[in-house]
């Protein structure tokens, strides 16, 4: 559905994207995650042909992103936190305006979504709150049943109730569509994403299926017989190692139930207990972001 190969985007002297490569399989929901400035929005804007790549290429629906035509755009839904819609039109007027551009626009679905998202048809877009505007953007992106839905930081600035309504609206209509969602609010994509791509300063740190990612990250707590210092050179797959008295904690990024005990005992003497807890996506993200930052510094 989406293929990105050695993608570079430069603004003046600043490299916003540095050789990015990843794929979004058909029917998947890929979360593009990363801290602010990681390159998520730039990647999406290159995919939508809003920016031209400086080097490398991206394909969307099998077409080079720089050659995307109205035919492809009619199959892509796009929702962004800073989308500028014509503020002086009402919600209803703008939907009326957009409808003829999409051959597959489903009027009954539009009505359903509008009611579901509680969008007032007679209110001008400029008079909508930020949350309502995001819902409006979603309502403009779903009625034509896009094959690909791209969501750029859709939850930014939304209160929990609106987020829930937004996600409810989205998930109910998701169907067979492929979703690319960028966010730094990981709690929200936890139940949505099937794949994760992690960006840091324009580079790809990893791209993985969500299940595999959750399986291989564990927060490990080792209790020792007596107080010990953390080893100077721990395995590279163990991050954020800390020692507090006789307790050592770290994040294992290559967790395997079978060999964790052996690896711990190989490094520490007098191991009393080993506890390995699954991590939330947010914890995984912050761990990786901190490690990346430490590596750079």
């Amino acid at each position: 559905m989406i293929g990105v190969t050695d993608l570079w985007k430069t603004f003046g002297r600043y490299d916003a994207l540095r050789g990015l490569s990843f794929d979004v399989p058909d029917g998947s929901a890929l979360a593009l995650i990363g801290a602010n400035g990681a390159g998520k929005t730039t990647t999406i804007k290159v995919l939508m042909n809003i920016y031209k790549p400086s080097r490398g290429m991206a394909t969307v629906l099998g077409v080079d992103s720089t050659a995307i035509s109205p035919r492809e755009l009619a199959q892509i839904g796009y929702v962004s936190e800073n989308q500028e819609m014509p503020g002086r039109l009402t919600v209803g007027e703008y939907l009326d305006y957009l409808r003829p551009f999409y051959p597959r626009w489903d009027k009954s679905l539009e009505t359903l979504i509008r009611h579901q998202l509680l969008l007032p048809p007679d209110r001008k877009i400029k008079d909508l709150s930020h949350g309502m505007r995001m819902k409006m953007a979603l309502a403009c992106a779903l009625p034509y049943r896009p094959r690909l839905l791209i969501l750029d930081e859709p939850f930014s600035g939304l209160d929990p109730l609106v987020r829930d309504e937004f996600m409810e609206g989205l998930l109910q209509q998701a169907g067979e569509m492929t979703i690319l969602i960028s966010s730094h609010d990981l709690a929200e994509i936890d139940g949505v994403a099937t794949h994760v791509t992690f960006l840091d300063q324009g580079r790809l740190l990893f791209e993985e299926r969500m299940e595999e990612l959750m399986d291989r990250f564990r927060e490990v707590r080792v209790t020792l017989e007596q107080k010990q210092c953390a080893p100077e050179k721990p395995p590279t797959s163990w991050l954020q190692m800390r020692a507090a008295g006789n307790v050592i904690t770290f994040v294992d990024t290559r967790f395997s139930e079978e060999d964790l005990g052996d690896r711990v005992r190989g490094l520490f003497a007098g191991v009393r207990t080993i506890e390995a807890e699954p991590m939330t996506l947010r914890s995984i993200f912050t761990t990786l972001a901190r490690s990346a930052r430490n590596a750079v510094s």
Binding site: I50, P86, L98, F101
Partner: protein, 520 residues
């Protein structure tokens, strides 16, 4: 989808459209009142605020483009299946419907209420509409496409005006090769070239910007187009005049007109009490304290009776003993009218020579060559209307009114006409019963353009000309044959001259001592 996008823009901007139309109607009404009743207060208001309708239209045009802004990365239309050509076509259609067609309709109505025929009015209104579309609408649409907001567009327009002004000050005014055609009858030639460049340039910039959205590159392209337009000011005289000759109703010299030096006419002297400067608008360009004025006596042979010979340009060259030429510059405009049946017409041609050069050679015999580009203007019609309080439709002069001015020393004549004004016309006061007439005044503003509307940012598709004819001085110092008491039975007679032929000829004076012909 063009119509669909247009309807959206109309829904968003209909209030602005109504406002612009209101401004246009209000100014059209004011212009009608001024033309009909000589209302000075309204005339002054129009002088100051005359550009307001076009300015309001410019804001509207920029606003319609900004409904779907091109620069930027957040606009919703960028992610919609909107074809760029549909978008351009919709904006252009909006411009036509909201700005250009209403201006056209206003022009036609203005002409009709002044009593002109529909065909005459539609012709000039169409010509002006095309000119405004290319010279005004397209550039404003381009400006809109290159900017994000109205503020940016205004800044861009100011930057453009400053750039053009700087180019004029720093380059054009200092270059001897520039502006050769300014104020001449062939100034329409570079204007036409500019229009062609503007059409092509607007097409390229709009196409590039809407399809590729490369704002910086498109801005560079636009600057290049403007530079190309400015370079037309370097169009050489002879090229433009050759175009004019090619278009001339009778190509080449209609009769073997020749110019020869005739020292027997004696030295030129200004009649006492008469201002040596003519009424020709071009003469002030050549006044300079560092020059010496010569009046070279000459005879011009074979001008048809009643015709006017106008020198559009005269290049003066000094040929030295080695047969090499030095350019002395341009001669003053020469306007000669044949009033009698003699074969040749005496005339003095005023030439200005740099004082330092003149002082060096004034007492030496030198060879002088003057290369003339000339236009023969034939009498097309003679028309008259009563001298006081008349309002009449004349065939060639247009719709004219006459009135005595507040000081009761002048007859003021105002004429309106769809399309171009005659290049030359003469006017005189004639007392009908006695046949006496006051000296004739000649008004020449050569414009040989085959189309109407070049550089015509005026209020409508009508051309206006006012002339004044003196019949007395307040202090009674000069007596006119036709004056106060006879005005009621007098008429203003116009003679209208149209260009008949454009040609070149040279005057070679093998030996002349310049000092002999310095003006006293």
């Amino acid at each position: 989808m063009v119509w669909h996008i247009l309807k959206k823009d109309w829904k968003l901007l209909w209030r602005h459209v109504v406002l612009v139309w209101a401004v246009q109607i209000f100014f059209g009404w004011m212009q009608f009142v001024v033309d009909s009743s000589e209302n000075r207060t309204l005339e002054r208001i129009l002088d100051v605020f005359g550009p307001l309708p076009l300015l309001a239209s410019a804001f509207l045009l920029a606003a319609v483009v900004h409904q779907d802004t091109i620069p930027g990365d957040r606009q919703d239309w960028l992610v919609r299946p909107v074809k760029s050509w549909d978008l351009i076509a919709a904006k252009l259609l909006f411009a036509l419907l909201a700005v250009n067609v209403p201006i056209f309709v206003g022009d036609v109505l203005q002409g009709l209420v002044h009593g002109f025929s529909l065909s005459a009015v539609v012709g000039s209104a169409t010509s002006r509409t095309i000119f405004l579309l290319i010279g005004f609408t397209f550039p404003v649409l381009v400006l809109g496409a290159l900017t994000k907001s109205l503020v940016e567009a205004v800044i861009g327009a100011i930057g453009f005006a400053l750039g053009v002004s700087l180019f004029q000050q720093l380059v054009l005014s200092r270059s001897p090769d520039a502006l050769q055609l300014r104020w001449s009858g062939v100034s329409w030639v570079p204007s036409l070239v500019v229009l062609f460049i503007a059409v092509a340039g607007a097409g390229v910039v709009l196409g590039q910007q809407y399809r590729q959205r490369t704002t910086l590159f498109s801005r560079g392209l636009a600057v290049g187009v403007v530079a190309l337009c400015l370079l037309t000011q370097f169009l050489p005289w002879h090229a433009a005049f050759a175009v004019q000759q090619w278009l001339s109703p009778s190509r080449g010299m209609p009769t073997p007109i020749s110019i020869r030096f005739d020292p027997s006419l004696g030295k030129f002297r200004h009649p006492s009490g008469i201002n040596p400067e003519g009424s020709d608008r071009r003469s002030h360009l050549f006044n300079d304290e560092t020059t010496v004025t010569l009046h070279v006596p000459m005879r011009i042979e074979s001008i048809p009776e009643g015709a006017i010979l106008n020198s559009d340009r005269s290049e003066v060259r000094l040929i030295n003993s080695n047969h090499k030429g030095d350019d002395l510059g341009l001669g003053d405009p020469l306007l000669v009218r044949k009033n009698d049946s003699n074969n040749d017409t005496p005339a003095y041609h005023s030439l200005k020579i740099r004082r330092d050069l003149y002082d060096r050679i004034k007492n030496q015999p030198v060879q002088l060559q003057v290369n003339y580009s000339l236009t023969l203007l034939a009498l097309a019609a003679s028309e008259a209307l009563p001298a006081k309080g008349a309002h009449r439709q004349l065939v060639l002069a247009g719709s004219c009114t006459t009135m005595v001015d507040e000081t009761e020393t002048l007859i003021e004549v105002h004429c309106l006409k769809p399309g171009n004004l005659p290049s030359c016309l003469s006017a005189s006061l004639e007392h009908t019963p006695s046949g006496q007439k006051n000296p004739e005044a000649l008004f020449c503003e050569p414009d040989y353009s085959p189309f109407f509307g070049f550089a015509h940012y005026g209020p409508d598709a009508l051309s206006r000309r006012g002339v004044t004819l003196r019949f007395r001085y307040a202090d009674g110092s000069v007596q006119y044959p036709v004056s106060g008491p006879q005005l009621g039975e007098s008429q203003v007679r116009f003679r209208i001259y149209h260009p008949q032929a454009h040609f070149k000829t040279s005057l070679v004076i093998p030996q002349i001592t310049l000092g002999d012909w310095e003006t006293q």
